[in-house]
Amino acid sequence: MTGRTSAAVFAAPPADPSVHRAARASALAAGLLGAVVLLVALCALSLAVGARDLPLHTVWDALRADDGSEAAHIVRHLRLPRTLLAVLVGAGLGLAGALMQALTRNPLADPGLLGVEIGAAMAVVVAISLLGITQAWVYVWFALAGSAVASVVVYLLGASGRAVNPERMVLAGAAVSAALTACVAALLLLDGQAFDKYRFWVVGSLAGRELSLLWEVGPFIASGALIAFGLGRGLNALALGEETGKALGVPAGQVRVAGALAVTLLCGGATAIAGPIGFVGLAVPHMARLVTGPDNRWVLPYSAVLAALLIVAADVLGRIVAAPTEVEVGVVMAFLGAPVFIALCRRRRIAQL
């Protein structure tokens, strides 16, 4: 897929390459703007749809002023937080997936599949249940530590050979997830209350989240995103191989460390808000590359916006299919994302990054 796009770009070089590049950049920017507009529209839908459907003008009135009505309460206190958090979580996971795929040059990398989210989730449950921590801005640190440890372990196990092999890293992720799940199960066996919290946490949901999470956890995701956007050029150089990167003056080691830091901030933050949500980080970068080609300077912002779109859509879908109750966004994403993963695996050779 990436090969075809770049081949098409190189197949017909225009008379002046800089003109072509400028035209392409403005087309991509326009596409990104279109995706943002679509995201705003979907957010409006997310505010209107639910156990009680509201007309859009009611939503608009409720947003402009709190008139004390029931509709205003639903919009301002229930649906606005979850919609904004869905955008934040989606952007975080999409960026994390794109970063992981670029850093490990692994088309199957995903924070859920590679066990990073389960590491964060486990740390959060330990913090909430065993240590009695309830403030999000405290337990987000546990999520960060959990995701950092899990990603380092998976990376060390998965990349310890001479050549990094995509399947091997997925296997390491599956193995680490299985081991962590077994440990969590043992831990929870001894503590009924902790189990009760964990079983709702591990599904991956945006329901009933406080708006305060936005400024308690949001800054972590935002700083992760800033680092990620700054890495586009460095990741492009990494894709050409370590030697070429060095020749281009890109320090591969620094790019890797900064990338790992960004992945930790993004995954840890997103998991601290919603619990583990798999497959977003896997599928979205592939969709983004279909549009942008292999240039990470565009893949990263597209991944952020498209993943936010996907999570908001999955959240709305979960409210529609099971109305008047709802299916959690983590479950919806697993059922939407697994077919993409299986289709990628069924290809004869998985596209190398």
């Binding site: 310890s160 077994a182 599904v203 479950v331 697994a338 299986i342």
Partner: protein, 358 residues
């Protein structure tokens, strides 16, 4: 993919060992002295662990007491306790371990991957989904967790196998597709657990960890009869399996129907997994670890099924013993012990295999 590190054949001369043939010549195999010695050693260890398991509990007994009781001449109090409680529990642990060990050996051979075991590629999770559906969603059908587990495991196996099949079967694709299906089933399981009442969810979670405590004679028959049939079938398929270890082309050239043998093997493996899960719940890591340990001890390229069965039985009995003894009087289910040990073992396996295999 790393696969198994097959040893090259010795350059010349007869290989030492004992060739076993049935009169018709349809069944034949080579027993290397090392494999025989390993088997005897594992059997001795299993016997020792079994005696220790029969000694353990609120009513302590000496090894001599236990042996006499099993032979029918023990003190009456102990006879009741061993006969009614400890012996069936031990037999279930041995049977479950043997079934999981063999299933793991089969899947790891077929996928040529040390991680191609039922708990990684979704069969165990699928069996759990079936059990959860039977317990939480359709309690009115009164299927019970075991029946649900068997159905769930079978449906998952068919799904994974057919999704991974594309112009023939490739082991690495089977494992990857299995991981994808496993992720969906994990999501489904946590969804089901979040919808149940706390009491129901705790009971279900207890079952999901896997335990052999409280098993009686009623559970021994339904475990051991299919186990013996499936073990016999696996041994009968052994010749084709050995040929397939050399690669599909070589096996085809030797006249082995590759796809059919593989399907029959996978069917045996799925049957063994489902039988074990139905008896004790989804105990993790036995199917993963037992074949690799057996392979290393026997110094064989591929995981040998019968030695894996013995290793699996030994692991399960020891894990159950540890769970009973370690934090006594708190009794931990066998799945907790296998999970904790398995996690460490797995990290070691991955780092070692991959540093070597590069």
């Amino acid at each position: 993919m790393t696969g198994t590190t097959a040893k090259t054949a010795r350059p010349s001369g007869r290989m030492p060992g004992l060739t076993v043939r049935v009169a018709s010549g349809r069944l034949s195999g080579r027993l290397s002295p090392r494999a025989v010695a390993t088997g005897l050693l594992l059997l001795a260890l299993l016997l020792a662990a079994s005696v220790a398991a029969l000694m353990t509990g609120d009513y302590p007994a000496t090894p001599a007491d236990v042996v006499r009781t099993v032979l029918g001449e023990g003190p009456p109090g102990l006879e009741l306790i061993v006969g009614r409680f400890r012996l069936p529990r031990l037999l279930v642990a041995i049977g479950v371990g043997a079934a999981l060990g063999t299933a793991g050996a089969i899947f790891q051979s077929v996928s040529r991957n040390p991680l191609g075991s039922p708990e990684i590629i979704g069969f165990t999770t699928g069996a759990a989904t079936g059990a959860l559906l039977a317990l939480l969603v359709f309690p009115s059908l009164a299927l019970g967790a075991p029946t649900g587990a068997v159905l769930g495991g079978l449906v998952t196996a068919v799904a994974v196998y057919s999704l991974a099949f594309r112009r023939g079967m490739r082991g690495d694709r089977l494992v990857l597709v299995g991981i994808g299906v496993n992720a969906v089933l994990m999501a489904a399981n946590s969804f089901l657990l979040s919808r149940a009442s706390l009491q129901q969810a705790q009971d279900a979670q207890m079952w999901l960890i896997g335990s052999v405590s409280g098993r009686g004679w009623d559970e021994v028959g339904p475990l051991w009869i299919p186990l013996i049939v499936l073990l016999a079938a696996t041994v009968a398929l052994g010749r084709g399996t050995a040929a397939m270890e050399m690669g599909d082309e070589a096996a085809t050239a030797l006249g082995v129907p590759v796809e059919r043998t593989r399907l029959a093997l996978v069917a045996c493996g799925v049957g063994l997994t489902a039988t074990a899960v139905a008896a004790a719940g989804p105990i993790v890591f036995v199917a993963l670890a037992a074949p690799q340990i057996a392979r290393r001890v026997a110094r064989r390229g591929a995981p040998p099924p019968m030695l894996s069965a013995l290793t699996g039985a030994l692991l399960t009995v020891v894990a159950d013993l540890v769970g009973q003894r370690l934090f006594a009087p708190v009794q931990l289910p066998v799945g907790v012990a296998t999970g904790a040990v398995g996690g460490l073992y797995l990290a070691w396996l991955l780092s070692r295999e991959w540093r070597k295999g590069g």
